[in-house]
Amino acid sequence: MYKYNELDQTLVNERVNQFRDQTERYFRGELSEAQFLPLRLQNGLYVQRFAPMLRVAIPYGTLSAVQLRKLAEIARKYDKDFAHFTTRTNVQYNWPRLEAVPDILAALASVEMHAIQTSGNCIRNTTTDALAGVAADEIEDPRPWCEIIRQWSTLHPEFAFLPRKFKIAVSASAQDRAASRVHDIGLQLRHDDAGQTCFDVIVGGGLGRTPILGSLIRQGLPWPELLNYLEAVLRVYNRLGRRDNKYKARIKILVKETGPQRFAEMVDREWQHLQGGALTLEDHKVESMRAAFTPPSYRQDVPEQGFESARSTDPDFARWCQHNLRPHKQTGYRAVVVSLKAPREVPGDCSSTQMDVVAELAERYGFSEIRVMHEQNLVLPDIPLDHLHAVWLKLAEHELATPNVGKLTDMICCPGLDYCALANAGSIGVALELNQRLENLDDLYDLGDLRLNMSGCMNGCGHHSVGHIGILGVDKKGEEWYQISLGGSSRNDASLGDRLGAALSRSEIVNGIMALLKVYLNQRHVEESFVETYRRIGLQPFKEAVYV
């Protein structure tokens, strides 16, 4: 993975000092609440329902074992012994003291980490496929490009005060696992006819209160022009994005109101001036970035025998292998999905001990690397077959081996009313109750691949609009209600869910979901997934079952 050079490290250290000074000026009254707010947000610091919340950047979801241990140490020392992994592949601390934040940032800087631009109206953490570099269907490793974008977007002098937040995702495989059509910019990497890397640029997608799928505005952008073109998009947005209403300030509204074609022309006009300019990428720059992500020295002789016999003798291990492993480019290796969705745990939460366990496994068996998935699980990307059983045993010992990846209980869920100041409704309680109802694994597996996403408010941090089943928490006269939508997806078949009908109360919601599942089980064709059945039979049968 990418290692900081002296310049990267100096910049992050300088940022820690800057934030320490800003915090001190705030405590001395030299910065007002209103002035400190955007400054602290640009360093990932919110003031939440009960305490500040600090969001730490995990660039494109890649972590080293040393970094994960540091995250565990910070949770132990400054928080309540756990942290929460988010749908933006970042990590959040829910209970730090404001006074301690500069020290936490210094601790992060010591392992090449930071909280720069994890919030605020600026360019946020660039995300990609959690299986980058190992996925069997990958066209090219997207991480060198992500790191180039990370650097360009870090403390960019022109784009620190945008109309609203701005999120970039890069997908570089046949199957889009980066949700590139629901980002402000989605870059889809491919190789052109001459074998050269190029990008299809999708702009104006997003979730939140106005979910929209992005529009393709540039096909086959040549790689040397990547940053010039991004700069052109950002400049058009900075100048013309709406600032009169924060709910209409995302680039998706500008693209929608302007029309994708006209918007593309405006970007092209700007890009014409920037083409070939100072941000043009050169071969040696990209090559040195690629060199930072060369594959580790894989063993060529991994025996399969032990793995096969363990699978045939241990049904629990076999079940975990079936659901929690992902194919790997390298023969003899698998990517292991570490489920953070144990039945009685908050989705995405991870204790300090669990973080240490994952770090230790990465060090012992997996070239010291860990990934964060936007589905709020972790990945050990490089585990050889002959160590899978040992890895499984250790994970299982720490409730990290729930064999439910991609299934209903592997749900995406925001912290909801339990932590977030914006939420209308609790999401965690609903998640826990659903888990109890689906405790029997055979029932769970019978439901097949099913993405259930839940957000506690319409800001949509839980990506409810792209869940096969989406649940949105709404407030009705001070009570928690839940709006269901069906048929969403953030993958190649990207689509936004359709609203089922009136919201359900807290006491009705779990029964409502169970009724939906029953309709699927009764009506499905052989081998048909929930979302496929839904697309075939439509909303009506589900509606009738829920609103009897």
Binding site: L11, R15, P38, H156, F161, R239
Partner: protein, 161 residues
Amino acid sequence: MSEQVLSLKAGLITHDWLDLDDEAPLPDAGRSLLSLERWLREGPAAAPGRSLGLKLANTCDVESLDVDLDACTLIALEFPSFTDGRAFSQARLLRERLGFRGEIRACGDILSDQLLYLARCGFDSVAPADPTQLGRAKEALSEFSIAYQPSDSGPRLRLAL
């Protein structure tokens, strides 16, 4: 504009521009700042040989300005709120694309924490509504020694990208 102005190269200077009301008569001497409307109506021809500045709203599309920029000694760009970053783009366009060589000044609601960004986008001077923001200008301008974005303006930082 406030009395105190920070030159991003030379430190604190005294404000010597008269921010002229659209209806007020043009004084016989001194430096005057005109709105775009007045500039287009009267133009530099109304005051030959005098230093004139142009005030631009942050919604102005600087590329389609029908103004002889060579006749302009200073362009003042507005920050109605420090969180409204449109003028950062305007400054870069004036400097890098339109080749404006006069002074670019930032006016309005500006925090000391933004000084380095302003300098790197091509601003030469800053006249904040709250002059206390200039108290820590020197520290603010030296908070970073590294940048990932190339820029010909502002302090010379080591380029990391």
